[in-house]
């Protein structure tokens, strides 16, 4: 039997076209010959595949025909999820946006860096209250003062007419002419003069500095200086409570300036325990001035103010004056500052009216004039 005949037989067998007799013979052949059997299976499978393929093609045609009738474009319009404008912008331009953002960040950081924002100093927040004397004003005053100098040269305690490059305030520690002021006032000074409320100027020299506490001690060494009367105020070692009333006297200009306020915090800028925060209207030039309580006890030295806040000043606590005085005494044999807290004795200022207090204080508070 040829392969052609066998194939025909198989096809007829599968289609059920064989007569009973033929079918029996064929099934017998299939049983005894495994090759024939596998041929049948294979043929059935392959022709089945052709048939299925045909059906698939047919079905696809039908589906395509149906698909033709659908308005796909309109559906696409309807069904596209439109992301919000921002999301679309981001998708289309994210690389550009990223570049721009990094440039912006870089620019901000470098600006901050070059403007010194990253220097951790509090300088931007803190203004030392030493006085810069403007050259314009100086020349104007010079003219005026030359005349005065002639007149005043006759008086004892000669007046020095040059107001100095910078200035501040200071106050007497002892009768012998030791004066305490703020370190930043006398920093870099070539020569120092102090001037009292009467306008009398004396030459002074720097004795001691303590930059970390912003304290300096100077001494009047002038032949004209004959010493002071007994100090009207005491030095108080203990701390004052928040809310206590305080006064100050200083020289932001040529005449003494008085201000009243209160302790607003027991610590200074950024929690500095060496200082008080004081609510006082202050001006440049008042640095180094005394801070007193109402009973006439010195409780601190005015040192600076907060830049961005009105009337928030800082004062170094008086306990550091004691320490400085002690350091001066131990450092040298020449300079002895005996500063004792005089708890028992009332200060001479206690009980006086404010105007009287100020009148008395005036003689012991000095304008510190710095030449450099």
């Amino acid at each position: 039997m040829s392969d052609l005949q066998l194939t025909e037989l198989i096809e007829r067998y599968l289609a059920g076209d064989l007569s009973n007799e033929e079918k029996e013979r064929f099934e017998a052949l299939r049983k005894e010959n495994a090759a024939v059997d596998s041929r049948i299976t294979e043929h059935a499978h392959f022709t089945g595949l052709i048939k299925q393929y045909g059906e698939r093609v047919e079905l696809e045609k039908r589906l395509n025909a149906i698909h033709q009738e659908i308005d796909v474009d309109t559906l696409v319009q309807e069904l596209t999820v439109h992301p919000t404008l921002i999301v679309r912008l981001w998708r289309n331009h994210h690389s550009k946006i990223s570049v721009a953002a990094s440039i912006a960040v870089f620019a901000i950081l470098s600006t901050l860096y070059f403007t010194g924002r990253f220097n951790k100093t509090t300088a931007s927040n803190y203004t030392a209250l030493s006085r810069k004397i403007e050259s314009v004003r100086r020349t104007a005053e010079n003219a005026q003062r030359t005349n005065q100098a002639l007149l005043n040269s006759l008086k004892p305690g000669h007046r020095v007419t040059n107001p100095g490059t910078t200035g501040g305030s200071g106050f007497a520690l002892t009768q012998s002419g030791y004066i305490v002021t703020a370190f930043h006032v006398v920093n870099n000074a070539d020569s120092l003069y102090v001037q009292n409320a009467l306008g009398e100027s004396y030459h002074a020299k720097l004795i001691y500095t303590e930059p970390t506490r912003d304290i300096a001690i100077i001494k009047i060494d002038d032949k004209e200086f004959t010493g002071l009367d007994k100090l009207p105020y005491n030095f108080k070692r203990t701390k004052l409570d928040v809310g206590e009333e305080v006064i100050t006297l200083g020289f932001p200009r040529d005449d003494p300036y008085y201000a009243k306020g209160y302790i607003s915090s027991a610590t200074g800028l950024e929690g500095d325990t060496a200082a008080y925060q004081v609510s006082l209207p202050v001006y440049a030039g008042i640095s180094g001035g005394p801070l007193l309580d109402t009973k006439g006890n010195v409780i601190g030295i005015i040192s600076g103010k907060q830049t961005r806040t009105e009337s928030a000043a800082f004062a170094v606590k008086s306990s550091y004056i004691f320490k400085a005085a002690q350091n001066v005494s131990t450092d040298s044999t020449q300079n002895v500052i005996a500063l004792k807290p005089n708890k028992a004795a009332k200060s001479a200022l206690a009980g006086l009216s404010r105007t009287q207090q100020i009148k008395k204080l005036e003689s012991y508070v000095f304008m510190v004039k710095v030449y450099n």
Partner: protein
């Protein structure tokens, strides 16, 4: 949107009976009813409307064959079934095109339909081979094979169409054509492996 779709959609059992009875109307209605759902899935997941058409038609074919083979059970909604098959097929295509971003944005519930999708793609490969083999076969063999094995024409009819003088010649010709088709088909299989 879904409300409008559902109103025109045939019920699930209608669809099953419609496919079994070769109802053109039901096929059309089910096709039109669920196409927007699949279109929405595809175009919002990096696909085009044409991709949606391909994927959806494949899913309809899967459904069709499943119903025809008699093992379609309405264990889930027909809609969910179609969506799941499309989703699976689309994921597969995305990964083939390496456009797959990790996840698809879903719009419907879906089921795991691994078997259906795998079975379908396996059969698809066979059909692609058959298509290629038939193309290479050339005329008149291609038409003879198609007429006899697909369109179920008798040898007598084929004889007449092709003008063979006797049925034996036609049979011989058909036999030779089938042998060549098998050869081409399995050659392709080997080539693919």
């Amino acid at each position: 949107m879904s409300k409008a779709l559902n109103s025109s959609a045939p019920t699930d059992s209608e669809v099953v009976f419609g496919i079994l009875n070769n109802s053109e109307n039901i096929l059309k209605r089910v096709y039109v009813a669920y196409f927007p759902m699949v279109l929405q899935l595809i175009i919002n997941n990096n696909g085009t409307a044409d991709d949606a058409k391909d994927v959806y038609q494949e899913a309809i074919i899967v459904l069709y064959n499943k119903v025809k083979s008699g093992n379609f059970e309405l264990s889930s909604k027909l809609k969910t079934f179609l969506y799941s098959v499309c989703r699976k097929l689309w994921l597969k295509r995305l990964s083939q095109m390496s456009r797959y971003g990790g996840d698809v944005k879903d719009f419907q519930d879906h089921l795991p339909v691994e078997d259906e999708a795998d079975l379908h793609s396996e059969r698809d490969i066979q059909f692609t081979k058959m298509e290629g083999a038939l193309k290479q076969l050339g005329e008149p063999c291609k038409t003879i094979i198609e007429d006899f094995y697909i369109h179920d024409l008798s040898m007598q009819e084929i004889c007449e169409r092709f003008g063979y003088t006797n049925a034996d010649n036609a049979k011989t010709q058909k036999y030779k054509c089938l042998q060549r088709l098998k050869k081409l088909f399995f050659q392709q299989e080997q080539r693919d492996q």
